[in-house]
């Protein structure tokens, strides 16, 4: 893939080694300005490592990386990249034992923001996240969702072009997650590029494009719709057992005679037949055992099929 | 309370310790370091004291005096041509003391007026002033005898018998006391930090929201450190016996009983600290100040409690380390029985009970729902 000239982020054959361990290998993609770009993968798949490279926190071992038009070559270019990007990491990047105001003051001083500019930004961002508590509230006394929004504001004080969010919604209520995503969407509408990793599949659904990582490699990259279509070219069925089915029989069904993929979902199964013919064969043999209905594949199905399914 | 759940938590904690080779290495390194420093570096018997000598007399008598000092084995002699130079040696801390022999030394000695020599010592940087003064006092008669040839008259000979440590071996004194210091350090520091860490990481709330009872969490978390503390005891014991040949005259049961009481007291204290502070940095500082420094400086380990002013002696009675120090030394060197140590044991038991009660009350009120 050729790096696109006006891309917000462009990565070609990125590789990061920790000793002998290849944490990230042969990863290439590019992200357009204003895009919400999702990153999916199991723990240790290389998501966080990739994000850290893009934030200028980690020097790549191989490949070329360009962030906000700046090629990442050295420590010096890392500092220039850091000026242009905002980073909010897995754990909230706020000090629990400081007040909201103290936290933001400190962030502003870290980035040497001019006082008038900082105060203006702070007001804008507080309006943006509808922060209505006193600034002298201790961070540890804020509810989780509020903490996360203040954290987002802190990472955006310097008005970055690109914002990296590493599992920003871990451990907050679903209402807070919803509000957070509406904030993200309005940011993207205003031209900010958003990079987000998450464990919640329903969230990732809202991304423009999704990159799927497994063992340090990029295994799929498409829009949510495209991902579902390419992963499940045939209809997906949900099978509900009518009786207790022994484990050995389930194992037999997993074999590729009938299905491309056959995954357990609680007591039910999601299965994608190999061909229309194999589906008919299955129905003939097992109609007594299962109820079946066609369902729309979700990203979770995609994720399981691509990431977990191949590890079997 | 279920033993299985306690075991599970203990396993997790052991896993923490083992997986973190840094902490493990340090936990093992600390006792080794302490034993090395205290066992090898500390020598209370002062020898080879460097003294600067100015001989203003330059006679046979003054030379004999210097010879007597040199051959005593206590002193290393540096000679200087002027008084000023000799005193300067003391001032610059190059020599411990300066001996000034006055010009009329021999003359005075034979004229029955008594010969005088001035000894200048540095009181600013001198933990050995007492010993040096003592040695010189002893030298007075010896030197008189050597120079004048007069007999040493001893109307009364004082024969000293040093009980329990006949050769005044510094190691026998220091190494049993190390048990107290090592156990104290490992128990109070590690416990006060482990529980505080759970609070800081928010995992305490997580643990408390499970059906596991708070007391199970605590017992489970502390169990590995009890193990670590007891293995440190065994380690120091072996070093003391095999390497430093410290005699062990008492019963092992008495020593272990003392260890268990002491360990429980410090674990309870560590727990109290972490429940109260909930922050590792504060917990560490309080542990350092309430547990560690007292157990080194106020327990009688080096600085005798009996020599402290009355008020401070009373204060040390509240320190578990002080009582365990008595138990350790006496079981090793004196072979004291449990009965002979009853007061120390009662005091330790009392402190232990009070500490456990306070800690569990605080724990119940603050932690349990």
């Amino acid at each position: 893939m050729q790096p696109t000239l006006n891309a917000a982020v462009s990565v070609t054959e990125l590789g990061v080694d920790f000793g002998n361990f290849k944490a990230v290998n042969q990863v290439s993609f590019s992200v357009a300005p204003g895009e919400i770009f999702g990153f999916l993968g199991a723990n240790g798949a290389g998501k966080t490592t990739t994000i850290r490279v893009l934030c200028g926190l980690l020097i790549p071992t191989r490949g070329t990386v360009t962030v906000a038009g700046i090629p990442y070559l050295s420590e010096e270019s890392a500092d220039r990249i850091k000026e242009k990007v905002g980073y909010m990491s897995q754990k909230f990047t706020l000090y629990n034992d400081l007040t909201v105001a103290e936290n933001l003051n400190f962030t502003a001083s870290l980035r040497k923001l001019e006082r008038t500019y900082y105060l203006k930004r702070k007001k804008e961002l507080f309006d943006f996240i509808t922060f209505d508590k006193p600034e002298s509230t201790m961070v540890k006394d804020l509810p989780g969702g509020m903490k996360q929004q203040v954290s987002l504001a802190a990472s955006m004080l310097h008005n970055p072009e690109i914002i990296f969010l590493d599992e920003p919604t871990a451990g907050v209520t679903s209402a807070a997650r919803e509000k957070f995503w509406s904030l993200i969407k309005s940011l993207a509408k205003n031209g900010k590029t958003i990079f987000v990793t998450s464990h919640y599949m329903d969230e990732v659904e809202q991304c423009d494009r999704i990159a799927l990582m497994r063992s340090g490699e990029l295994i799929a990259l498409d829009s949510p719709k495209g991902l579902k279509e390419s992963t499940f070219p045939h209809p997906l069925y949900e099978l509900t057992p009518k009786r207790k089915i022994p484990y050995s029989e389930i194992e037999a069904l997993r074999s590729p005679d009938y299905f491309d993929s056959f995954q357990a979902y609680g007591l039910r199964f999601h299965a994608s037949p190999r061909t229309a013919q194999s589906w008919n064969e299955f129905l003939m043999r097992y109609s007594e055992d299962f109820d079946s209905q066609i369902i729309q594949p979700t990203l979770e199905d995609v994720f399981i099929r691509l990431v977990e399914g191949q590890n079997r | 309370m279920k033993i299985a759940r306690i075991k599970a938590i203990a396993k997790k904690e052991i896993f923490h310790v083992v997986r973190d080779p840094f902490t493990l290495a340090l936990a093992l390194l600390l006792p080794v370091m302490m034993v090395t420093i205290f066992g090898l570096a500390i020598e209370f018997n002062v020898q080879n004291i460097k003294i600067a000598v100015y001989d203003g007399d330059q006679t046979q008598s003054s030379r004999k005096l210097i010879d007597t000092l040199a051959s005593s084995g206590y002193f290393l002699i540096d000679s200087f041509p002027t008084q000023f130079a000799a005193i300067h040696q003391v001032d610059a801390e190059s020599d411990r003391a300066a001996l000034m022999i006055e010009p009329e030394f021999e003359h005075h000695l034979w004229s029955d007026r008594g010969a005088r020599a001035q000894l200048v010592l540095d009181g600013a940087d001198n933990s050995t002033v007492g010993s040096v003064v003592g040695y010189f006092t002893a030298m007075q008669d010896l030197a008189t005898h050597k120079i004048l040839g007069s007999p040493i008259t001893t109307p009364v000979e004082v024969k000293t018998r040093f009980l329990f440590n006949p050769e005044l071996n510094s190691r026998w004194f220091v190494v049993p006391g190390l048990l107290v210091v090592v156990v104290g350090i490992l128990s109070i520091l590690l416990t006060s930090l482990t529980v505080a860490r759970e609070y800081e990481n928010g995992s305490m709330e997580l643990l408390l929201s499970t059906p596991v009872e708070p007391i199970e969490i605590i017992l489970g978390k502390l169990a590995p450190y009890v193990g670590l503390g007891l293995s440190a005891v065994v380690f120091v014991y072996i070093i003391a016996r095999v390497f430093f040949h410290v005699p062990f005259l008492g019963s092992h049961f008495t020593l272990i009983l003392g260890c268990v009481l002491f360990l429980s007291t410090y674990l309870a204290q560590g727990l109290l600290i972490s429940v109260t502070t909930r922050k590792q940095q504060v917990a560490m500082q309080i542990a350092m100040m309430s547990g560690l420094l007292p157990s080194i400086l106020l327990s009688g380990f080096i600085f005798a409690i009996e020599s402290m002013p009355l008020f401070f002696r009373g204060l040390t009675a509240a320190l578990p380390a002080r009582w365990f120090m008595v138990i350790c030394r006496d079981t090793f060197l004196k072979g004291s029985s449990l009965y002979a140590l009853r007061y120390s044991f009662l005091a330790l038991l009392l402190i232990c009970t009070v500490m456990v009660v306070i800690a569990s009350k605080k724990f119940k009120r603050d932690v349990e729902p």
Partner: protein, 370 residues
Amino acid sequence: MRLNATLLGFVKKEFAQALRDPKMRMLLFVAPVMQMTLFGVAISSDVKNVRLTYHPRPNDTVLQHVYERALSSGWFVPAQVTTTDPFEQIKNGEADAVLVPPPEGLTQSIGQGEGSGQLQLLINASNVLRAQSTESYIKSIMAEVLKTDLHLLPTSSAIQFEMRILYNPTSRTAIFMVPGVMSMLICLITILLTSMSISREKETGTFEMLVSAPTKPWELILGKTLPYIILGMSNVPLILGVAVFAFGIPMKGSLLVLFFSAFIFVCTTVAIGTLISILTRTQQQSMMGGFLFLFPAIQLSGLTFPLENMPPLMKAVAYLNPLTYFLEMLRNIMLKGGDWKVIGSHLFVLLLMGTALTVTSFKLFKTNLS
């Protein structure tokens, strides 16, 4: 020159974190004063209150005399006089030392002629230091009795050493112990504060936020150390105040020299703490690392044991210890008025150590996460 905004931000932030917690305020400003008082009084190598008794024999007036003199010397306190086995008395902890005359009594044995007097002294030697001092006390008391009370010895020997103890004529232990305790406390506070400072950020995850801003490594390191240098220095006048006003330790040298020396020392220990913090990942590790430094530093500084008796290897370690130098400087400045040669050379060594540590910290500190 405009003050660097990042540094100022760090000072404000670290102060807010350290000083908001009332427990921390206590630890920072009250605890040192309390410890100073406590250890200043309690730590002394004096030997006092030795419980002494004697084994009574009928009409033994000389022994009585020795015993009374011993009690009036101030070193001894009486223990119960009984006819039980003196060995048992010591073993049971009823007495620390027992005077045991020969069966006919000390008085009679002296009367039997030249060199016949015998006195046994039983001492509990489980504390070596006390045992040594007890023996020399009793011997000097015996000599006094023989000279002044019984006139069996000439009152003065032909050769007399006149002792003059410079800077501490009354031989008060506090005079040289208190400066030692001062230096120990300053070392303790700075190491405790700094050894966890960076590892805490790593453990709670805020470190990522620090390095995600385009700050320079020196700004981060200085930002994490400067506040603690200030806090450490704020303790110096407190501790000095206790030393001078509560313990009556003379302050002969210049305050300026003392504060400058303390400043260099605080910088050195803060550098050590910071290095520990850089090398460790969790606060527990830092604590252990800090302790691994503090323990030998305190023991091998000359505070508790004279350095000159140590084996050469340990002595070498002692002279790699910044506390050794600061302790000697503090004693020199306070008690002697400060010899510029001593102060100069010691400051030079501390500066060298501080520089080496800072350079190492810079080498090891990374503003990225690899």
